[in-house]
């Protein structure tokens, strides 16, 4: 049975990226990395395969370094909660060009679909507001793509997007695991040298 009020993660991520072609995207380990890759590889994607909890703070450092670009972290509830304090750091810094997109299936999808905190009482939207992020958007339908894409493109304030997704396991779409090559290609897309 397909739950209502939740979206297909691949369809949502693919539709969102199609509307924000210039965005710099950091992906959290596990399924969000696969979702973004499945939407089509672009050199402006940086895929995390480890360092659980890193997606949001990596995106923060990038957003501050590239204020004229839209920066999006796409991660899952488990990866996000491991480094959730970074939201407080973002609440303090308020980078106007940063959007945090959390794909929440209330499970740890990579490790056997164990129930996660968001299925056991944690309210991510309340957490984001509590950390000082004023614009918090709940997504529970594919019709919600455009308002989020508009926030990303216009860079008018830190935005937190809580995407309710089905807890299903989709075929894996695995980007290359070579972090050095990914880093260098990402920087080259910004016309930066390797080092």
């Amino acid at each position: 049975m397909i739950e209502t009020g939740r979206v297909n993660r691949r369809e949502y991520v693919t539709a969102l990226i199609a509307e924000i072609p210039d965005a710099l995207i950091i992906t959290g380990l596990g399924s969000p990395t696969y979702d973004v890759y499945a939407a089509g590889h672009r050199p402006q994607n940086f895929y995390l395969w480890g360092a659980m909890g890193a997606a949001v703070p990596v995106a923060l450092g990038l957003a501050l370094a590239q204020p004229e670009r839209s920066v999006v972290a796409v991660t899952g509830d488990g990866e996000h909660l491991m480094g959730v304090g970074a939201l407080a750091t973002i609440g303090a810094a308020q980078p106007s060009n940063l959007t945090v997109v959390v794909l929440d299936n209330a499970h740890f999808g990579e490790t056997g679909m164990q129930c996660s905190h968001t299925g056991l009482g944690t309210d991510l939207r309340a957490i984001a507001r509590g950390f000082g992020i004023e614009t918090v958007i709940q997504v529970d339908s594919l019709a919600d793509v455009s308002p989020v894409a508009d926030r990303v493109r216009t860079r008018v304030g830190t935005t937190y997007v809580h995407v309710l997704i089905h807890a299903d396991e989709l075929p894996r779409a695995l980007p290359p695991r070579d972090g050095v090559a990914n880093k260098n290609a990402f920087r080259a897309a910004l016309e930066l040298p390797t080092f």
């Binding site: 304090g85 750091t89 050095v180």
Partner: protein, 173 residues
């Protein structure tokens, strides 16, 4: 250089090294440096909830073409261990200045276990360790670290010895 003028010299070196983001979890020994970062409009200062955020922020800054540095106390090094894998996996340049506790004239035993393990933890995770124990050597050591990190793409921690930082004051004079 007098004993209390080294933060000014270190800040000057970070500025001339074009460091643009300074992320920190405070330590009393870093307070002067943090104040200087906060009062400089060309530097973005970021207070962290835990030190590992600063490792990830430095990587993100580098992806976007900026240099960052992480300031922390030795206890924070332990909080960073798995995040250090990001540095090794992607060969990110990384500079951290670590105010040491748990060594010279330490009177809080709770600081000792992590302080004593700090250098080995860093080295186990592939980070080169440099150390400054006197005010005289700090500036040159940090300058050398900046060169190694941003010119040679290395990962370096500069340990600021507790003797340099000075005895912690437990009561006001």
């Amino acid at each position: 250089m007098t004993d209390n003028s080294w933060p000014e010299a270190v800040f000057r070196v970070l500025k001339s090294g074009n460091v643009r983001q300074i992320a920190f979890v405070p330590d009393a020994g870093l307070a002067d440096l943090i104040r200087r970062a906060q009062s400089d409009p060309a530097i973005r200062d970021l207070v962290l909830t835990t030190e590992e955020e600063g490792v990830a922020i430095a990587c993100g800054a580098w992806l976007g073409g900026q240099r960052a540095v992480l300031l922390m106390q030795s206890s924070g090094v332990g909080n960073c261990v798995n995040m250090f894998s990001l540095l090794a996996s992607c060969q990110f340049p990384f500079l951290t200045l670590v105010a040491m506790r748990g060594e010279y004239a330490e009177m809080n035993p709770w600081q000792v276990p992590m302080g004593r393990a700090t250098q080995q933890v860093l080295e186990l995770m592939g980070i080169q360790v440099m150390r400054a124990n006197t005010a005289r050597e700090v500036e040159d050591t940090v300058r050398a670290a900046i060169d190694a990190v941003f010119e040679a793409n290395d990962r370096v921690a500069v340990l600021l010895g507790q003797k340099l930082i000075g005895r912690k004051k437990w009561e006001s004079d």
